[in-house]
Amino acid sequence: MDWDIVIGIETHVQLTTKTKQFSGASTKYGNEPNSQACLVSMAYPGVLPVLNKESVSSAILFGLAIDAEIPPRSIFSRKNYFYPDLPKGYQISQFELPIVGRGKLSINIGGKSKDVRVLRAHLEEDAGKSTHGIIEGKSGIDLNRAGTPLLEIVTEPDLSSAEEAVAYAKKLHNLVQWIGICDGNMQEGSFRCDVNVSVKKKGSATLGTRREIKNLNSFRFIKQAVDYEVNWQIERLEDGGKIEQATILFNPESGETKSMRSKEEANDYRYFPDPDLLPLIVSDEDIAVIKKLMPELPEAMKARFEKDLGLSAYDSEGITSSRDVTQYFLKIVDLGADAKLAANWILGNLFSQLNNKGIDILDSPISPKNLSALINRIEDGTISNNAAKKVFEILWENTGKEVDLIIDQLGLKQISDSNEIDGIVEQVLKNNLMMVEEFKSGKEKAFNALIGQVMKASKGKANPAQVSSILKEKLSK
């Protein structure tokens, strides 16, 4: 039987505000446990929440970036449940009226663009962390993270494969960093996804029962977890079983998903408007002010690169896949390098090295200045593409040597003197009369073989374009 896969994603994006959502405590990651637990973070008797305005601006900026409605009034509500790392016994969140309404984010799948509808995005605060094993026989509570601002972004169930889910997550991950509201650090939990998965018979209008995979903090885990979960659900249904609504966890070690709690065990969160906080009123003027902070967005930049710099759709998509990559690219272009060559080198050699070594482009051992110099040397004919690859390898070792010095030391300089090339070509033609005959009798292949001979004779240094044109000229005589 054929099945449709239906996926919706809720993403918790940690906002890069200096202080917490409702207090002045620092949001820094990795400090001594409870060193950032102020009285509000610890929910002392009598303390009150005060909304962080920076997080409000961040949420609105995001809303504008996905072309969403920004309602004039939103409400903070309490989500009530007991847990040791939830100091107040409730989380302040937004329930009925979120700060960001409907919007959309488009993803690219197999060269095609698809709009993913965003249902809403709302502000809330993070919980603390329970730690086990630090104190023998006891659990510890670290409230440094308690109260950290989060923007929860919820999609409609518009995604229909693990690939689409990952594409959406990557796109969102890029966007929130692009507009500067999140550091995107997935290992530290700054960007985590809850993925709702269900399957239904192909073409059926009725949605299947969904299970929610909690807290996925890598794109690979999203792919693995969704694939596993989809197979699990399909197998179960094909065996005549039923899917029960549940919250599940993905175990990266085993690659399996496991039920955490069923619907019956689900909490009744007893949401109600938080009486300690007034409704949040956002005026058109507020929105206008925030709009001015909006950088050129990846989609717009992508279109501009295609139109103005002549990049292919594929290349411009790759170059705008992250703000850091775009900035690296723009630096190279600013230094005078050809845009198409720059895109090729970044998405080709540079990416493959960075990915192999697991290095972020910000930490690339090859600076934009060096890559730009290298590309300039290809463009002005000083070195060939093949020679450039050798220079690239040396640059990657980060020896501090300049591009031109490397070219000199390795003797990679291309022969572009047409007299010199002329001489070599003459010699090769003389030595390969058979090939010349073949070419003249119509065998096109012989031309490439002759070029190969010229390159060999020049030890690879002859400028291939010049070789080609000189050879053509001589053969046509």
Binding site: L39, M42, A43, Y44, P45, G46, V47, L48, P49, V50, L51, R78, N80, F82, P84, P87, K88, G89, Y90, I141, D268, R270, Y271, F272, P275, D276, L277, L278
Partner: protein, 484 residues
Amino acid sequence: MLNLSLKNISQALEKKKFTSVELTQFFLNRVKKHNPSLNAFITVDEDKSLAMAAKSDQLIQSGKKNVLTGIPIAQKDIFCASDWKTTCGSKMLENFISPYNSTVIQKFNDAGAVNLGKTNMDEFAMGSSNETSYFGPVKNPWNLDYVPGGSSGGSAAAVAARLAPAATGTDTGGSIRQPASLCGFTGLKPTYGLVSRYGMIAFASSLDQAGPMAISAEDCGLMLDVMTGHDSRDSTSINRKKENYTNSLDEKIDGLRVGVPKEFFGDGLSVDVQKVIEGALKQYEKLGAKIVDISLPNNHLAIPAYYVIAPAEASSNLSRYDGVRYGYRTKEYDDLMDMYFKTRQEGFGDEVKRRILIGTYVLSAGYFDAYYLKAQKIRRLIANDFKVAYEKCDVIMGPSAPSVAFKSGEKQEDPLAMYMQDIFTISTNLAGLPAMSIPAGFVDGLPVGLQLIGNHFDEAKILNAAHIYQINTDWHLRSPKGID
């Protein structure tokens, strides 16, 4: 020192007739003598109070004196005060020492006032008789067999018995005015948002409001001058120009339109109390006021709406008392759930548990619309009733409580009868209006309070009306016998 107004004490301190240390010691001695029978204070710390008094004396010596500098004030034990035990009347916080000052405490400290001690109260301010306190019931100084009212019962007994020149209270449904009525002194609940709630342990956040409890309207005005003001740490604190509450006390009240709601004089009001209130209204007419009949048609819905909204908020506000970070934790437990259950079972009293249960119920899926949302609609209707009424009058008057003080234990087993105590006070909390209770007479030797309700931010107006009444009567100056 015993019966001086705050203004007179202030002048005496300025003229060095006595020092703050002497004054504070005088009241500490009275507390020592009478607290065993009244149980008005939970925490008294002579050393701390006297140290504050000594500091205030220095301020007075150096000429840096505010009106309240050097005056001892009893603080309801709901206000967090740095280095003081702050129990909120609960076993849950029996040993909780606050690491910080509430805004109210800070303001009194900044004014140079002396903290005389922390007064007893119903547990988490839930009660109308001060019998739900973990630290034992408070007695009414007029008759020790009777309750002082609640929840600010300790502050009430302290002021009535002159164990303190003045005290603070909080009023969520009548917790300043009803005890003021039952103990015969002046108490004021300000407009919601006028006094910061920061550091005031929350019962029902949308209703809680701190206010002064003192002998006279003038004293309350002086206290209010210190207590009010915008506070950026409380998002519901109102940002408006600070007013002076004593400048207009003496203004004439000729032509003041006094609205008398017919709903305040129906079933449930004791006949004797009604007579006292009618007498007070006649007095007002003599003083130049005009009585206007008004109606608050939804007043009968105030108690049901209140007992949905207040417990709903309380059930959430009290979730933080879980034994994890501070406060009481049960001694032995098997696991996390067991620790939660036992801690809250042992740490909270019956009335608190009752309200947590009610609140949890009304917020539950499937009941939310029928209870919580409906109660919020009623709340808007009640607020609208007042809005309409104030088109016809300047001040609304009526009884503060349906009866005089009742005997200890009398209503303890009947929560609904107890809840009726607040039938005339709750609607103003729901509407966020300022209101006060002033002594207006006696029934069988027990005090009766007249309630004055103002429109939003009309504190100065009701204080003025109360003051004019008080300079023409002496009910507020009477004090219980046998407490010397």
